[in-house]
Point group: C2
Chain length 567, copies 2
């Protein structure tokens, strides 16, 4: 390709509204252009990266035995009503009325559609298992789209759905997809982690996310320093430590703590460690009413975990302050599990301390020397908190360190949630109707492009790996206005590289070296060959790998260039 | 690919709601599945055809020097307000409100978006000309979606947009695209015609459509029996014949024609040919008021042409009957150009007859022996009618014959309509701001798949050309339940063909020959190799080309198969 064919428009200035590096560089290099909030056009140079990622994803899905199809972006509401999600999905789902006032949505995901089609075409166990995938545009109406491609409203996704006669076969395909996904992430040159995840409102039992590690990542990951444990914050487990609770050694005592409402204030006021305090939060109960949650003073509530407790409302909601004050007869800064007027559940860690401090359920007063079992019932234990850096890894190997990650893929074992809701059955060998098990597997194709940039860039621009670079090699002829020879040699090298099957880009815009090299670094093509009169006099080209300290002189031959490309 | 990997579901029954052959066969062969009105999922086998067409389109666009980009499907209303089309587009444009109640549409076309981006990135004549294209999902909210892919609501389209410093350069690129389109239509194996077309509400001067000829086509085409003239009905020109009007030979006479309102009735009642009658239709005027249109009795009004007349409202609208009766003082069956109370314009053919019959502008009366110039002013002549079969070709070569066609492509010279409305200028060599000329070029990628089927099918199913077939060759092993040898030979041939780069499909479902061959014919893969014990005993395979009368026995070797594929 010749650069003269792209009206490539690059800028030195960092766009004001671009907060992360990938967004800044994609705009500066003219890879994408904004059309509206969370809406981006892929300009020719950027689209080449997207297509390369798409091709890698497709190759690995095909290799793994999935079959590609293509479902409409616009989906009838009826299917979502059938699955029960029409009401559950919030404002993120773009709802549409057609000219006849019928309800549709712009598909944020395709579970309903795929089950609908499977019902039409699949009736026998002989047709199972199968895995259908598509690469399709999705829309999620984010309240505040930002970070460019990272949290766009319209984006490109690969979504796959598999169907199985039993859970064991689903698990087999889940592992198959896990391997295929790992290959995709390796091939695009990403440093990634597979982390345990919560299934969220998509439902199902087991799920894992593929995260590209980057300081700008929106997600916090808990990764063990030893072994393979990794989970996102929502899913990271905090099991009981296994250590028995120490015996009580202090007497219960009510102390005056005027105006001391937060754990930090009380801890300081009474000179006790935060870890020796129990705090009480109050949530809405699943059947109405209130439920108190006891946490150790230094811990934070994990609402996703809490919402799974059978007593607590799902989705999780904190109780209203006025309701809490009415029930407890005191302000929310002074709550505690002793003589608590509502049911109490406790995080495991809160149950493992003795002689703790907590609110007295009396304004301006706390209790000291409190002990479970002696001063109040031992609350039922549950995993309710967010994991902390330095915690022991839940698998017992090493301790937890936090990383930031960009979610690029997500695999789920959905079980029978959708097949059951939509009454999809097949006949087994005995002619009995069986509800298939289902898995689903997504990759954010357009997001991956941005995530790779977050990992691979320097002050001058992007640094694409060969596998997904818009072009592999850039030919920069210098001084073509003065030298016909440079021009001719550059054209010949360009033609020879194309003939050798190398995806070469020729900068035939006639720019001066400064702007030409600045563009080259910004666009981040992995290999650069500079052709100038001076080099040609010694029968040499200048070769530089993007990101290398220095350029080298090489023989002025295709063979020499190919040798560097394949080094 | 192995057929066992597709849960392919075929049927013998013709689906009740499928009116055209392509829709019937696509459903029967499991190539597509309906999701909702005008919404179809491409199942794995069908998607392969779509992707092949897409690839051919992309190759020809790249070869012609266009650069691919990808614009969002969802477009902000602001851009359409800027071009003035937000109000002009009817209910076919799917309008959407996001969570913040901002207006968007699902793009039916992308002129506004592309001009918006060109404005952002292109400022100098040096960056022109360029041609940007995309392959993107479009949505048109058809009132009555039908004929399957032919008139679906969501469909895949290739749309390209070019920008130029002057009209001559636009014309050059238009011809370049015309050649590229012809190559696409040739490569997909279609019998097509390039016809002159009206630009419709997209605007602009010159446009042509690429039609695939098929009896089921929605469009009527006027094609000359000699030479290259071809146009769609809206655009087919009806210039003056060049013959002078005969001299008047009859006296003007008012005759009683009680209850005879239509041309046919009057013609019969007065025993005059329809071609000797002038009828008067009344349309709304561009500045309000009414305008009368005189046509020869046997001709029909072409509303698209009429709307281009400066006196007539655009879009065209017939006058209300009560307004006509109020103006003329008689019923609409008795109108004529003599003493006409509103301005009259006439189709050229109506001006070429003498001694004609027309309404008397008096109830139950007509005039005979009417002559332009003598009995009323000679109305200004204009091309206002639909062309008829048997008419002389407008280019003077041969006469017109009608064909039915399916519009698969459309190329336009838009001129400055959008660049001007959206204030897109570039600086020319002298530093003067110039508004670029614009062209646009569309191919209905998904529609092409259906159109090819309309041309290429027989009673047993589809007949794909090699270039866009889902697979090139189908391997059918017979009796694999009894013969391990047949199974092994089929597997080996499958592996050998793949190794030779041939896109082979192995029917490993273990079906009996009847259903296996029925599926083969229905799916329409161009080459079929049957492997059975009987043939193998003589060291032979059976080869059959789809659509051939008979099968042949060939050597049981890859070489022999390849020879047939490449014959």
């Amino acid at each position: 390709m010749r650069l003269s064919r792209f009206p490539l428009s690059t800028t030195k200035e960092t766009p004001a509204d671009a907060e992360v590096v990938s967004h800044q560089l994609l705009l500066r290099a003219g890879f994408i252009r904004k059309l509206g909030a969370g809406l981006y056009t892929w300009m020719p140079m950027g689209l080449r990266v997207l297509r390369r990622i798409e091709t890698i994803v497709r190759e690995e899905m095909d290799r793994a035995g999935a079959a590609e199809l293509l479902m409409p972006s616009i989906q009838p509401a009826e299917l979502w009503q059938e699955s029960g999600r029409w009401k559950l999905m919030g404002a993120e789902m773009l709802r549409i009325k057609d000219r006849h006032q019928n309800d549709y949505c712009y598909g944020p995901t395709h579970e309903e559609v795929i089950v609908h089609h499977a019902k039409q075409d699949v009736r026998s166990y002989r047709q199972l298992p199968f895995n259908w995938y598509q690469v399709q545009t999705k829309f999620r109406d984010e309240r505040r789209p930002r970070f460019g491609l990272m949290r766009a409203r319209e984006f490109l996704m690969k979504d796959a759905y598999s169907f199985h006669m039993d859970a064991a076969d689903l698990d087999r395909e889940y592992q198959n997809m896990r391997v295929a996904y790992a290959k995709v992430f390796e091939r695009i040159g990403a440093d990634f982690r597979i982390v345990q995840a919560d299934s969220g409102n998509i439902g199902g039992a087991k799920s894992e996310e593929f995260h590209i590690l980057a300081g700008s990542g929106e997600d916090l990951l808990a990764v063990s320093t030893v072994g393979s444990y990794a989970a996102n914050m929502e899913a990271a487990a905090c099991p009981p430590s296994g250590k028995p609770r120490p015996a009580a050694s202090q007497a219960l005592e009510q102390v005056s703590t005027p105006g001391q409402k937060t754990c930090e204030q009380v801890s300081k006021f009474l000179s006790v460690a935060l870890t020796a305090k129990v705090k009480l939060l109050v949530a809405k109960g699943r059947e109405g009413g209130l439920v108190a949650i006891a946490l150790r003073g230094d811990h934070e509530l994990n609402e996703v975990k809490a919402a799974k407790h059978p007593l607590i409302a799902s989705p999780f909601e904190m109780a209203k302050i006025e309701d809490v004050q009415a029930a407890f007869g005191c302000e929310v800064g002074y709550l505690g599990p002793v003589k608590c007027p509502v049911p109490v559940i406790a995080d495991h860690a809160a149950l493992e301390i003795a002689d703790f401090v907590c609110g007295a359920n009396v304004n301006d007063h706390h209790l000291k020397g409190v002990n479970w079992g002696r001063d109040c019932d031992v609350a039922p234990g549950y995993d309710l908190r967010k994991i902390c850096e330095g915690d022991a890894s839940p698998d017992g190997q090493g301790e937890i360190k936090f990383y930031r990650g960009i979610e690029g893929g997500h695999i789920f074992q959905l079980g029978r949630k959708y097949t059951e809701a939509m009454s999809f059955t097949v006949l087994d060998e005995q002619g009995k109707a069986v509800t298939p098990e289902m898995g689903c597997y997504g990759i954010g194709v357009s997001r991956l492009a941005a995530a790779v940039i977050e990992q691979r860039h320097d002050k001058d621009g992007m640094r694409w790996p060969d596998a997904i670079a818009p072009f592999r090699v850039l030919i920069c002829p210098i001084g073509t206005d003065k030298s016909e020879r440079v021009k001719a040699v550059a054209e010949q090298l360009y033609a020879d590289l194309l003939a050798a099957g190398v995806d070469a880009l020729l900068d035939d815009r006639g720019l001066r070296p400064g702007p030409m090299f600045a563009d080259a670094d910004l666009v981040g093509i992995p290999h650069r060959v500079v052709i100038g009169e001076k080099g040609l006099a010694a029968n040499q080209y200048e070769y530089k790998k993007r990101g290398a300290e220095k350029a080298d002189m090489i023989d002025a031959s295709v063979a020499a260039v190919l040798e560097r490309l394949n080094a």
